[in-house]
């Protein structure tokens, strides 16, 4: 069944659109996810360190807001 965001194009129009766009530029191609990547130990370490840094700094900002409010 045709979705309402889809257009049934005549063959000439199809080839015009398909020749103008790269394959993975088509809206339908984007529905397929890119394969997942395995994160290595050092990468995970950096991601966790920055996550903890961000959470800690947000607590500092909240403390600053509390100080200003009082």
């Amino acid at each position: 069944m045709m979705r309402k965001d889809e257009v049934h194009a005549a063959p000439a129009d199809q080839s015009w659109v398909l020749n103008s766009l790269e394959h993975d530029q088509l809206a339908r191609a984007k529905k397929h996810p890119i394969p997942r990547r395995h994160l290595k130990g050092p990468e995970l370490l950096v991601l966790w360190a920055l996550r903890i840094y961000l959470l800690f700094m947000m607590a500092v900002v909240a403390y600053q807001v509390w100080l200003a409010a009082h």
């Binding site: 257009v7 194009a9 063959p11 398909l18 394959h23 993975d24 530029q25 890119i34």
Partner: protein, 456 residues
């Protein structure tokens, strides 16, 4: 990534409105590229310019212009002029990576993080973006309210005007038209240049500041807050998400990366000119020893009125309105792109309203909710503005590490992975931002440490 060969004559392929609109844009680019000569190169630049200029002028938003105005009023002409230019150089390094990512993968930033690193890290990234974008959106409406307040416009009418402009840009349901309307609005960011010229700045002091980076500000908590606010005024997470998604929506390919870079540098140059002009415009307040700690846009304009007259002050206030409105458009669009990317709902400014309901609904909801908050009486608006820029700086290192990992991912980038020099520069940006954040934390937890180190 090669174009798909033409299909069999009798085969029916299902394509979307989004594909047809994007194909129209690509045909114009291909035609311009096929021709030689200066005029066809200029036309190609005209067709491909957009995301870079929009992201840079969009980031010259309400809180950014207020930070620059506060910088000029508090420190005058000196260290902060070359410093602001340096922050825009950092922005170029970072944003260029999003152009390459978008052109090589044809995927948005949020989508790539979710797909490559999984939903656990994806949701962390989305939470950072959602909170940051929403807080920043609030400050854009604060700028609009304060700017129009100078002309005596009531807050609710100011907010309504901003929402109408935002919605008008969307009504075309065409990326190209939306981009040109927003670019035209963003050009008004340069209104700060004539305002600066009206203050008759000392060009000798300006050139001395750029050459020597002096006079240096005192090393204390206030300086650090302004330093952080000025960094947050040029590099923020929403910029990464917006430029990559806009590059994809515009349909840019690897052939367009060179023009994407020109677009980014052009945007940075224009934004630097506007930022430096704002510092120069408010520098006379420093010379007159005026305290501008709690100034909003309207107060800055009022304080400048005796120096540059009613016309100059009105231009300054209008500049703040423009900064708020353009950023409200780009930031709410960045939120809507990210939402569509992670939920795999259609997400393009080429979508007709009926087909892109979730995309336009998120965009509208973000803007309306932020606008409504600004109308709450008694909200400490100036404080919210300062904190938002600080939060942007703090959220930047984790966002940059995701970007760094994606742009060095050979599986998705192929030969377009970052060269060594780009990696060294981006690692430098992460280091500077993290160090600035840690210094800010120390200044809050142990405020006396700066006195002990010889500061004021």
């Amino acid at each position: 990534m090669k174009p798909v060969p033409a299909q069999n004559e009798d085969e029916i392929v299902v394509i979307t409105h989004e594909d047809v609109d994007r194909a129209h844009d690509r045909v114009r680019v291909s035609e311009a590229r096929a021709q030689r000569g200066f005029s066809s190169r200029a036309r190609l630049l005209w067709l491909l310019v957009g995301p870079g200029v929009l992201v840079m002028l969009g980031e010259n938003d309400g809180p950014s212009m207020l930070s620059y105005a506060a910088t000029g009023a508090k420190f005058g002409i000196g260290f902060f002029l070359p410093f602001v230019a340096l922050t825009f150089c950092m922005a170029i390094v970072v944003q260029e990576m999003t152009v390459r990512l978008g052109a090589a993968t044809h995927r948005g930033h949020a989508e790539l993080i979710f797909d490559r690193f999984g939903p656990f890290w994806g949701w962390f990234s989305m939470i950072d973006l959602t909170i940051g974008n929403f807080l920043t959106l609030i400050t854009e409406f604060i700028a609009v309210r304060a700017g129009l307040g100078f002309f005596g416009v009531p807050p609710w009418i100011s907010i309504l005007i901003a929402l109408i402009v935002l919605y008008s840009a969307l009504m075309s349901h065409r990326y190209w038209t939306w981009e040109r309307i927003t670019l035209a609005a963003a050009a008004f960011n340069l209104i700060f240049i004539p305002v600066a010229l009206m203050t008759h700045p000392s060009w000798h002091s300006v050139s001395h500041a750029f050459i020597t980076w002096q006079p240096l500000p005192g090393f204390n908590k206030d300086t650090l807050l302004i330093l952080l606010a000025d960094i947050g005024a040029t590099v923020t997470p929403w910029m990464l998400f917006f430029q990559q998604s806009a590059t994809v929506d515009k349909g840019m390919t690897t052939k367009d990366i060179r023009f994407g870079r020109i677009d980014t540098v052009l945007g940075a140059a224009l934004a630097t000119a506007a930022a430096i002009a704002t510092i120069l415009a408010t520098a006379p307040l420093f010379a007159h020893r005026m305290t501008a700690d709690n100034f909003q846009a309207a107060e800055f304009a009022q304080a400048l009125q005796p120096i540059i007259g009613r016309f100059g002050a009105s231009l300054f206030a209008l500049g703040m309105v423009e900064a708020g409105i353009v950023a409200a458009i780009t930031i709410s669009t960045s939120s809507a792109y990210a939402f569509g990317e992670v939920t795999h709902k259609p997400h393009s400014l080429n979508l007709p309203m009926g087909e892109g309901k979730p995309f336009y609904a998120v965009l509208t909801l973000c803007a309306v909710a932020a606008a409504a908050i600004v109308l709450i009486p008694g909200l400490p608006l100036v404080y919210v503005v300062l904190i938002v820029n600080v939060v942007a700086v703090l959220a930047m290192p984790p966002a940059l590490v995701f970007l760094f990992m994606l742009v060095n991912d050979k599986e998705i980038m192929g030969d377009l992975v970052s060269p060594l020099w780009a990696n060294i520069l981006s690692a430098g940006v992460v280091f500077i931002l993290t160090a600035a954040g840690i210094l800010f934390g120390i200044s809050i937890i142990a405020p006396n440490i700066f006195t002990a180190l010889g500061g004021k």
